[in-house]
Structure formats: C-alpha cells, structure tokens
C-alpha cells in the first residue's frame, strides 16, 4: 500500500511548473492522468501526522504555482488516498464532474482582498462625531478601573457599533467598485469589528491588470483610514465546489 497525497486536479494536458516542491519525503510533485483529467500528486510522510506548518505551506505553494498559468481545482487539505485509488476511486468515477468544474474556472484566477481600519484615525473620527461616546470616555477616564466596568462595556459597544456602521458603507463601496471586474465574488465572514472587507474575487486572466489597478485606486482613496492586503493570483479556493 502506497499512500499518495493529492493537491488538486488539472486537465490532463496541463504542464506542471518544473520547480514544484511537494510535502513528501522525496519533495517531488507529479501527475497521474486518466483520460482527460489528471491529479497532482506526491508521496506522503507516513511516519508522522500531516498538518504541520510545512505541510500546509506546501499544499498552498504547489497549487498557487500551478494556478499562475493553468486552471487547477484544489482538493481540501489534507487529501490522501492509496496510489491505485487515484484512478480507480478518484479520477475514473468523477471525471465528468471534474472536467465540468475545470471548465468553469478556465482562464480565471482568484484574488483575495482584505481591508482593515487604521485604528487611531478611525477611532478618533468615531469619537469626535459622537457626543455620547465623548461623555462616556470622559467619565471612564475619571473613574477607577473597578468602578467604570459597565461604562467601559457601554463605551466599547458604542464604538463597535459605530465602526460596524462605517464598515458597512465603506465595505459596500469597495465591493461595488470591484464586482464589475470579477466574474464571481465570495464574501467571507468578518470576525473583527475593524475589518472593512474580506472577499475573494474570481478574475479573468486578461482582466488582472484592470482589477489590480482598481484595487490600487481604492487603496489611494482610503489611504490613512484603511489598510488593504491583496493576495494573488491564487488557485480558486473559494470557488471550488465542495463535493
């Protein structure tokens, strides 16, 4: 029994970049093809659990390097199967579905955009425009910590509310400007109140420059208020059907 790691799927005529570095002991990455679809595979360390930092990074690195040039469907980390199962259990029974999913992402790459408020300028903006927040802030500052507990909670709640209201406006603005340049958008749940936008965009390869320029313009418009991070091109992690 040989365990095989599967990173993702490509069409069988896809040429892999030469310098891929896999997560197995050999480091090699190759493909196993069946008719028109191929699995991107490598060996697996079998003496230890998968899930280390290096394993996760290798999974991402291999997929994104391929995604730079070709359509690739990521498997969910970590996907391991017996070597003979790659064709028998994975490729042969699901070929049609895989080809269909590959066709849907052909010529498209993912970009992920995150925006976060610059804390001080936005807190200042919120405080200065809200009298209740100003009064609470003064009271909290005068009271000893124990005595101000409930006032501090109330102050924080008001600030968080005000921030959430702002980000709804700002976040919508960002998304509306980028949506026309993407063929699909997947919005991720934002965990912290100071997150303005956290979304994945599926962008046509020939519109990447345009998309990038639009993000740059947005960055300039929000400079000093929002910090943006743009990651890509990536494999279409957020646009891959689960089953």
């Amino acid at each position: 029994m040989t365990a095989t790691y599967v990173y993702g799927l490509v069409s069988a005529d896809t040429e892999l970049p030469a310098d891929l570095d896999g997560l197995g002991p050999s480091g090699r990455v190759s493909t196993i093809a069946h008719e028109r679809v191929a699995a991107i595979v490598s060996d697996v360390p079998i003496d230890r659990p998968l899930g280390t930092r290096d394993d996760l990074l290798a999974h991402e690195r291999v997929l994104d390097a391929i995604a730079e040039r070709a359509a690739v469907l990521p498997m969910r980390f970590p996907a391991v199967v017996e070597e003979k199962g790659v064709v028998q259990e994975l490729l042969a029974p699901h070929q049609d579905r895989f080809l269909e999913a590959l066709a849907r992402i052909e010529g498209l790459v993912q970009f992920t955009l995150k925006g976060r408020y610059e804390q001080d300028p936005v807190l200042r903006e919120i405080t200065e425009s809200d009298e209740e927040i100003q009064l609470l802030r003064e009271r909290v500052r005068e009271l000893p910590e124990d005595a101000s507990y409930y006032d501090r909670i109330r102050l924080g709640e008001l600030v968080v509310d005000a921030m959430t209201q702002r980000r709804e406006v700002d976040g919508r603005n960002v998304l509306e400007r980028l949506r026309p340049l993407a063929s699909d958008v997947s919005i991720r749940t934002m965990a912290a109140p100071d997150e303005v936008v956290n979304a994945a965009f599926l962008v046509a390869r020939d519109r990447v420059k345009q998309f990038d320029d639009a993000v740059e313009d947005i960055g300039l418009d929000f400079v000093g208020r929002v910090r943006f991070r743009l990651v890509g091109p990536l494999a279409p992690y957020d646009f891959t059907p689960e089953g």
């Binding site: 365990a3 360390p45 079998i46 659990p49 899930g51 280390t52 996760l56 990074l57 991402e60 690195r61 997929l63 994104d64 390097a65 995604a67 730079e68 469907l73 990521p74 498997m75 969910r76 980390f77 970590p78 996907a79 391991v80 199967v81 017996e82 199962g85 259990e89 994975l90 699901h94 200042r124 919120i126 200065e128 802030r137 909290v140 501090r152 909670i153 924080g156 600030v159 968080v160 949506r179 026309p180 993407a182 063929s183 958008v185 919005i187 749940t189 109140p193 960055g219 300039l220 929000f222 400079v223 943006f228 991070r229 743009l230 990651v231 890509g232 091109p233 992690y237 891959t240 089953g243």
Partner: protein, 151 residues
Amino acid sequence: MTVATQGERGGAVERYTGGGPSGLAEVVELILDKGLVIDVFVRVSLVGIEILTIDARIVVASVDTFLRFAEATNRLDLYAHGGKDLPELAESMMKGGAKGKTSGAIEGAVEKVGEVLTNARRRRDDEDEDEPEEQPVRRRPRPRRREREEE
C-alpha cells in the same frame, strides 16, 4: 505567500503572491476548509482541523471585544492629553485575537496517515459485513456567509 510588489505602486495596497513562506494563520485561512471533498477522501479526512479553523475564525462581538475597543478609545490621544503608549495597546489587542490558537492544536489533532489508511480499510471491511458506518468527522454548521454573483 511572498511580498511581491509592495511599494512598487505607491504603497497604498500591500501585495502578496501565492506560494512562498508567509504567516501560518494566513495560509490556514486561505486553504483550510476549502476545496473538493470526495467520498473516498472523507474516510481519510483528519479529525479536528475543521473545528479548529472555525474556532479560530469566530471572534464574537463579546464583552471582551467591547472592553478592548473601549480601552483603545480611552487611550486615544484626542487633544494631546498623553496616555499610555501604543505598543502596549497593540500587544493587548493581539492577545485578544485569534492568533496563535491554531498551530499546535492542528498538529495535535491529526492522526498519522498510515494509521488513518489502515482504519479506513478496516472500516471498509466492516461495511462489507453490513455494520453501520462510523462517521469520521462530525461537521459543525459553518458560520461562513457566502454571497455569490454570476456576472
């Protein structure tokens, strides 16, 4: 992920390309819980990861969050009053966040591949004897909201 063109275009946006050393937290957010899942792989899916990523993602608007933002607002130097310094504030903000919760636990929760394959095979044998299939991972409802638009 590697920093690609940061600064090249005026620095309004930090840019990273895929494939390269980056923060673990970012890669976890990017890849975990995403991608194709096929029946054959469900049996070898490794226990624990999904639950951990969900825990890492949720930072509920709780009392703790309110107190952190109250503190940040309090320390804000509105009219040049002075106050405590920012590095201290940044540190307390970090402590409250989800950072660092994932790495060790992921490693701890995962079974060895060899064992998993053996178990999967054993499970398959069991199925042949008409025993009820054991659910390898109980899925929790996923809190991620998705909104899609076809052009």
